[in-house]
Amino acid sequence: MSGGDRIALLQGTLDLIVLRALDTMGPLHAYALAARLAQVADAQLTLNQGTLYPALVRLEQKGWIAGRWGTTEHGREARYYALTAAGRRALKGETARWRRLAGLVERLLGDEA
């Protein structure tokens, strides 16, 4: 991987983005999730789809999402991830935290300017 600043941006935020996507879209498999992210990011964010996997396993281990095997509309098998109750609570907390942090950074940058 190259581009240290991009990785730094993704770390921490990717988890939040995934949680948010699952919250609005309901259960998704990794490919659908990647597609959703690409759609929302509108090409501002290029992402290896594989990059999702560490985030997914992290969230699953925290108990914030749960994976279950299911079938796509085309009859293929896929693993669907759904937000858990704990995940929903975490999303609220993480979102608030992110807003505070973003606001703080924004203020700091405003002061600098």
Partner: protein
């Protein structure tokens, strides 16, 4: 909470990695399929779609790796891979692995065994009391009055119950002031009658030590009642009562209580748990001393034991106690009293030796580690190309270094497991060596008077602390031995190693010089050990070849237990006289005698000192000479020479003029400028004179290394002084042409015939008694000697390994030299010069190390200086001889190099 949960999940993921991997594989395959389906729907060919799917996902292997990092614990995964890899590569090179593991097992095992000894003896709290570190003892210290000089002597001068009471009342810095004595007594009315060790204690001591009975109750604190009770130790309960659960209430009869020969009936009141072994391991029970009944009987005295009051330092307690004790003992012997920690007092005699032995075993471990380091380094060098391949395939340098450390730790752990067996065996051997004395009592009728010759021997074991130490040592040693290879591996240059051949591929000059340094360090360490071992063993030889002044050949000693109630001193003497006359008629017996003690027995009786003027109010003098109450043939039986005057003969005996003999040391001290023969002297407060009729050659009385002390010899039948002259019963000595073992049956029959109640015990050759007096020096010399031999062999193996490697490395060069006309002798010389250089440097450094070690061990040496030049020369020559073998073999191999073959190899 989430973090903890994540950690648990990660650990679980590590444990179930196969299932996790399978699940991921399935999910990734499904993912790829979905992308492919999409792309095909958009009109791509199947092949293009498959390739594009892989690109979109970012490389399946990379995802797998990232997933594994996220889901599990990265270093744990790496470690697992490293361990698997290490095990595989070690199992491929069995010889090297075996050598490394065996070496480490030896080093770790020996070190752990010695650690368990040093830890138990010097560091572990005493087992019989909580907070044992605050237990203190009051000892008397007397400046040496020996004409030859020497360190101050410690005396266990006893304190009476009255004195203890005074201290209890006046000393605020002490609590639980108690008196303790240990005595060998005769117990009757039990399953196995015989001599038993009984603790005569003041009632406070049980509280002081926090004693809780396993059965029944503790001794009554009422002096009259407690003196008629006995509290059994677990060992005593097993041995004398067959672990009878209804033992409480049974009655036994105690015969001799510190010189007071009274049959005393004692009621058993309780049994202590096994861990309570105080003050000695062999203690069978405890009772209180009989309260004094009148002015004529002696007052019971015991060693003073107490606990420092909470928050009081030893120094503060000393300051408070000094004037109080001076006051208390103003009529006592002229000695100073000092408060010391019980633990220090107990282990003091062995502390310096333990530290030296500990240091030597550490050096042995160092040699072992250096050896294995060297082996691993050689292995790393020969695998340089393999490492280079791994580096080229993307393994980071830190990863390669970690692999080397993992290899080392693996060896360490396996070596540590082997070390466990080595340690167990070493401890078993240590116990045998350290308990040499009691094992040799031929009658084995209970604990011998020597007891365990090493403090706290029975507690030494591979317990939790030792095992923890061992595990730490194993991993630590493993990491240390892996370190050099790790550094080496971290410098792997994939391109250089791949390109190069021969020497360069094996690591080049830097690594070779590292290996040479290791060998120098090994030789130096081995040399240090060798000097240490030689010094100790030569010191032991000096000890053993000391002229004791008496003969031990054919001399047997034994004791007889008699019912004290029916044997006051006078009757005891009569019994002894009859017994020795009967002994003389035994076949093969040349002479027989008795005395209050034989040489090497640590009993002291000064008889109040020997004086040239009478004084009925005289103070007892603790160093007034050592009194021997002997029968007529005592001196010739032991071969002790009479230098001037005469020995006891038929003129002497009860009712005859009182005569005595003095030894040379006493003559020198008290009659420096006149002939002692014919001089009239007085003993203690006794006002009847004795005439000196002979001067006896000095003998080693209290130890082979202890200079002879002033002694005088009297006929016990000529003096009744109100105190028993045989507090431990008489020692019988006999000279016979038959070995001791063959005499036992005859002796037992003879003694039984004289009195069916009499019991024979402690039958021992005199030579054994003398030999056992050097049990400790022998133990130390054996230990350090064994370490030195192992160390020297290891160092020689290390030297051989490096030289063999050098020869192999330089084979092409040697080939060229020989092709250019160098003779075989030239080649041998070349290799020998290299080896010799390493050995020389090592020996030089080793001498420096040896001087440091020898200085530290100076206190253990007898008759030899720590810098004794001959010892150093012997060590250098001995090691050089071993090293020569290690050099000659590879040198000869070098000389057989065929120039053509070697050049073709290149």
């Amino acid at each position: 909470m989430a973090r903890l949960r994540a950690l648990v999940s990660r650990l679980r993921a590590f444990a179930r990695r196969d299932r996790e991997e399978a699940a991921l594989t399935r999910e990734l395959a499904a993912h790829l399929q979905l992308i492919e389906d999409d792309l095909i729907r958009r009109g791509q060919t199947r092949e293009d779609a498959a390739r594009a799917a892989r690109v979109a996902i970012g490389g399946v292997d990379q995802v797998r790796e990232a997933h594994r990092d996220a889901r599990s614990i990265g270093w744990l995964e790496d470690l697992r891979v490293d361990v698997v890899y290490g095990v595989r590569s070690f199992s491929k090179s069995r010889g090297l692995t075996l050598a490394a593991v065996a070496t480490l097992a030896l080093g770790i095992g020996a070190t752990s065994a010695i650690f368990s000894v040093v830890y138990t003896v010097l560091l572990k709290p005493l087992p019989y009391a909580h907070d044992a570190n605050s237990l203190v003892r009051l000892v008397a210290i007397m400046p040496s009055t020996n004409p030859a000089g020497g360190p101050p002597r410690r005396l266990d001068l006893g304190f009476s119950a009255d004195e203890a009471r005074t201290l209890r009342a006046s000393a605020r810095s002490l609590t639980g002031v108690s008196t303790v004595a240990s005595s060998l007594l005769t117990l009757r009315g039990v399953d196995a009658a015989g001599h038993v060790t009984i603790g005569i204690v003041s009632p406070e001591v049980l509280g002081l030590l926090g004693a809780r009975p396993a059965l029944g109750r503790l001794l009554s604190s009422d002096p009259d009642q407690g003196a008629h009770e006995i509290l059994l130790s677990h060992a005593g309960w097993l041995r004398y009562f067959g672990a009878d659960p209804a033992v409480v209430g049974r009655t036994v009869t105690l015969d001799t209580v510190l010189g007071r020969r009274v049959g005393r009936d004692l009621a058993v009141v309780g049994v202590m748990p096994p861990a309570f072994t105080f003050p000695r391991v062999e203690t069978s029970g405890w009772t209180l001393p009989l309260p004094p009944t009148g002015a004529t009987t002696g007052v019971f005295r015991g060693r003073l034991l107490a606990r420092l009051a909470p928050g009081v330092s030893l120094e503060a307690a000393r300051a408070e106690l000094t004037p109080i004790v001076r006051d208390l003992r103003q009529h006592g012997p002229e000695v100073t009293y000092e408060l010391v920690r019980e633990q220090d007092e107990l282990v003091g005699p062995v502390r310096p030796a333990m530290l030296v032995v500990g240091a030597t075993v550490a050096v042995l471990l160092l040699i072992a580690c250096l050896n294995v380091t060297n082996l691993l380094l050689a292995r790393a060098l020969s695998r340089a190309r393999e490492l280079a391949v791994r580096a080229a395939l993307g393994a980071s340098r830190s990863r390669l270094a970690r692999q080397a450390l993992t290899d080392g730790a693996l060896l360490g752990l396996v070596g540590g497991a082997g070390g466990l067996a080595v340690a167990a065996a070493a401890l078993a051997l240590f116990r045998i060596l350290a308990t040499a004395l009691p094992r040799l009592d031929l009658t084995s009728s209970g604990p011998g008077w020597g007891g365990a010759s090493f403090p706290r021997l029975e507690e030494i074991a591979l317990d939790g602390t030792v095992l923890t130490f061992m595990a730490t040592l194993a991993i630590g040693a493993g990491l240390v031995v892996g370190l050099a290879s790790a550094i080496r591996a971290s410098r792997t240059d994939p391109f250089g190693a791949m390109r190069a051949t021969g020497t360069a591929a094996r690591g080049g000059a830097g690594a070779s010089s590292a290996r040479r340094l290791l060998v120098v360090a090994q030789v130096a360490s081995a040399m240090t050990l060798l000097v240490g071992a030689l010094l100790l063993s030569r010191s032991l030889q000096h000890l053993l070849s000391t002229d004791t002044g008496y003969q031990t050949d054919g001399v047997t000693t034994f004791q007889v237990a008699l019912p004290a109630a029916t044997y006051p001193d006078a009757r005891l003497l009569t019994f002894a006289d009859i017994l020795i006359s009967r002994l003389r008629s035994l076949p093969g017996v040349q002479s027989a005698a008795y005395a209050n003690q034989v040489p090497m027995v640590q009993l002291r009786d000064t008889a109040g000192g020997l004086w040239t003027t009478p004084d009925p109010t005289r103070k007892p003098q603790p160093d007034g000479g050592d009194a021997r109450y002997v029968s007529r043939d005592y001196l010739p039986t032991l071969g002790i020479r009479v230098i001037a005057g005469r020995d006891f003969d038929e003129r002497d005996g009860p009712g005859q003029p009182r005569v005595l003999l003095v030894n040379q040391a006493l003559a020198r001290r008290q009659f420096p400028d006149r002939d002692p023969l014919g001089v009239q002297v007085f003993l203690g407060r006794d006002t009847e004179p004795w005439t000196i009729v002979g001067v006896v050659a000095d003998v080693r009385q209290f130890g082979l290394d202890a200079a002879p002390e002033p002694q005088f010899f009297i006929d016990g039948r000529q003096w009744s002084r109100g105190m028993p002259i045989f507090p431990a019963g008489p020692y019988f000595v006999m000279k016979a042409t038959r070995p001791t073992a063959s005499l036992v049956a005859d002796l037992r029959a003879l003694v039984q015939d004289l009195d069916p109640e009499a019991a024979l015990f402690n039958v021992m050759p005199m030579a054994t008694i003398v030999a056992s007096s050097v049990a400790r020096p022998r133990l130390y010399a054996s230990l350090v000697g064994a370490f030195a031999v192992v160390g020297a062999v290891l160092a020689a193996i290390g030297l051989y390994g490096v030289l063999a490697f050098l020869v192999q490395e330089r084979t092409p060069e040697i080939g060229v030299r020989m092709a250019l006309g160098a003779s075989r002798a030239d080649v041998v010389r070349m290799v020998a010069r290299q080896g010799g250089g390493l050995v020389g440097a090592g020996l030089l450094l080793g001498v420096v190390g040896a001087v440091v070690l020898a200085r530290a061990a100076a206190g253990l040496l007898y008759g030899i200086r720590p810098l004794d030049p001959a010892t150093y020369v012997i060590a250098v020559v001995a090691f050089a001889a071993v090293a020569a073998v290690a050099i000659v073999v590879p040198a000869r191999r070098a000389s057989r190099v065929d120039p053509l073959t070697s050049l073709r190899c290149e």
